[in-house]
Amino acid sequence: MTDWLIRAFWALLGGLLSNQIEAWLPALAKWLVRRAAARMPHSTERYEEEWLSLLEETPGGLAKLLRSLGLLSVPISARIEFLKGMPRGHIARDIGALLALAVAVAALAPYSLEPSRYAAYSALVIVFGALALGLSPSLQRLVAIAYERMGYASRITVGGLMIPLVVVLALAVSWIPASRRGKHPLPSSEPSAARKTVVVEVGVDAILDPPLAAPLDLMEHSESSDDAVDTGRDASQAEASTFVQTPPIEDANGSAAAATSRVPQDEEVASRTLSETSTLATPEQPLPSSQTEVPPATTSFVPSNVRIVQSEQ
């Protein structure tokens, strides 16, 4: 009983599916015919109507589909015939103009004479070959005549050669270094004087919890105090940093005081320690918006002419 039900179910399902497919095949065939007619080099509306009429005279959905599939190849032959009927044109002029254009673009190409030039120029050759065929009817005519004169074996060989050619081109393009694909390294620029800030490394714990950290003496000039200032930082940072003399800062009494601060010279070290640094801002330089002023209670040992701010990063 169960087997009978299962068989009936599958039979019903198969019947429904075949009906659906049979109903859809003519529509698919018409769509294919319209696609084929649209690719004809001329009289597209005429061929669409003619071939739709041919489909109407063809009995059966599958036969309609097969006939429409056959018509898909007609535009290729028609285009070749159309090109053969065209005047010979100025082949030498077209080729010369395209070669001149190719040389001009190659000269302006942003590729230096690196190994990647092979990839760049092979890509250019393919691009200009396609451009030449697209723009020059006389070249299209030559190719069409050559294509027609080729035997099936030659066509298959030429078509087969396109596959390794495309693969080689893809490999060659992927071989171009990223720096050669439009990403040019920017020249290293020094920060302008207007934006130059003096970064003073201060351990975060030294700011937030002064009793646990060693006192920070910004007025200390001697290099022998290096160890005392370096409290709270690791040894590598200490090695990568050097003392520099900051511009004199006038205090409230008008006397100039030279503050010696620890400024990382190495860019990498600076970025690594940015979150743990404070900025010593001169009165002319407004504080960046991403920085907040540290409450004065925690920096009571800092001279009054020095403001220490903590970065929010």
Binding site: E49, L54, E56, E57, T58, S73, V74, A78, E148
Partner: protein, 104 residues
């Protein structure tokens, strides 16, 4: 090999036109008469029409009266008929060698 096959297809179509005299033939008729597939027949029709050997026109009757889409009818032009007969005469020795009937 390709050129021979194409020549054969063209000759098959031309032979059917010569057989039917001045009668106009639609694509469906030619598919039935020549046995060519649509993908083989229509390139031949396009080429022969472009060469001026064939000419075509739409059916004069209205599709409503016909109750089907109108057909495109092909026939040999005067120059095409002359050329087709010359070609048939040139190929006649081959037809005789092959034991095929030839037009006198």
């Amino acid at each position: 090999m390709t050129a021979e096959i194409r020549l054969n297809n063209r000759l098959r179509v031309l032979a059917k036109f010569l057989e039917h005299g001045s009668e106009e033939l639609a694509g469906a008729d030619l598919i039935r008469l020549t046995g060519l597939a649509s993908g083989s027949l229509y390139p031949v029709l396009v080429a022969l029409e472009q060469l001026g050997i064939l000419e075509s026109r739409w059916e004069l009757d209205e599709p409503r009266d016909l109750r089907r889409p109108r057909r495109r009818l092909y026939k040999l032009t005067a120059a095409g008929e002359l050329e087709a007969r010359e070609t048939a005469a040139a190929l006649a020795p081959f037809a005789r060698l092959a034991g095929l009937p030839t037009q006198s």
